[in-house]
Symmetry: C2
Subunit: 142 residues, 2 copies
Amino acid sequence: MCNQCNYENLLNASDLNATDNRLRVLEVIGNNSYPLSAADIFTTLKRTCSINRVTVYRILDLLVERGIVDRISTGGRAFYYGMAPNENHHPHPHFYCTRCGQMDCLTQDSLNVDTKALWKTFPGRIDKVEVRVDGICKNCMK
Amino acid sequence: MCNQCNYENLLNASDLNATDNRLRVLEVIGNNSYPLSAADIFTTLKRTCSINRVTVYRILDLLVERGIVDRISTGGRAFYYGMAPNENHHPHPHFYCTRCGQMDCLTQDSLNVDTKALWKTFPGRIDKVEVRVDGICKNCMK
DNA sequence: CATTCAATGCAATAAATTTGCATTGAGATT
DNA sequence: AATCTCAATGCAAATTTATTGCATTGAATG
């Protein structure tokens, strides 16, 4: 849950008009404590407003492209979306339950990833390092 | 490229009959120096034998389920497949070029991931830790 | 020779996402 | 005020990737 990010500012800073729909999508993502699928976001929005599925996808694409939101791959077929790293959101690994599809955020230091060497020697451009732990969550273990 | 794994033994050790198709799929994966998509594997096989796309998917599922092959997520929509860790193949991170879709293996120690703490404290079951670097590869940078 | 069953093929379906084209509405231009 | 423009959105259809259901085959077994 994020109480610190000003979504309107985030959009403006990326030269995006802060439309109602963009703000709504960003709020759903930012106010959630774990990443959500496009379907999750769409379903949530549908409850309180009339928005098209395609619009959600397009907004997500835009937010990812501008680096406001992170597209996170799962062990499954759908992407999940969470706030991209910024002053209020630090990069962190995720846990994906292969049984129920729930994705959780792990603390930044639960997995220690040292990327310094790679950044120095890699002959291309590095945009992002994604760390995902797959397994069965506490709930599904019961 | 793997000259050490005996694919027939790998299959037998998992109680799988070493059918021609299974061996072929495993050879394509094992003899390649980077992970391949199901489509890559299918296309490669099609060149030299008659096999159905569905058979490839089914064999891949089976190999993944038995832990012979790893299903690796990319920044894109398709899964990629590479040899699962065994005595000849150590776990390692991957690089995914978001421009051309090429996936490369990084050396085991180019990224230092320390998972000890997580294993001790995580309240569910951990099956796999996937580390993927996304960016633009050397070729696409030109 | 009949039976069984794992392996495979083929067609249809599903899930997630993307594309093409139409509509709308707020602000700029005449 | 009427018109124009363009970003934002909607709707239907298409695409991509993967999965399912059911039929066929062929080797092994009784």
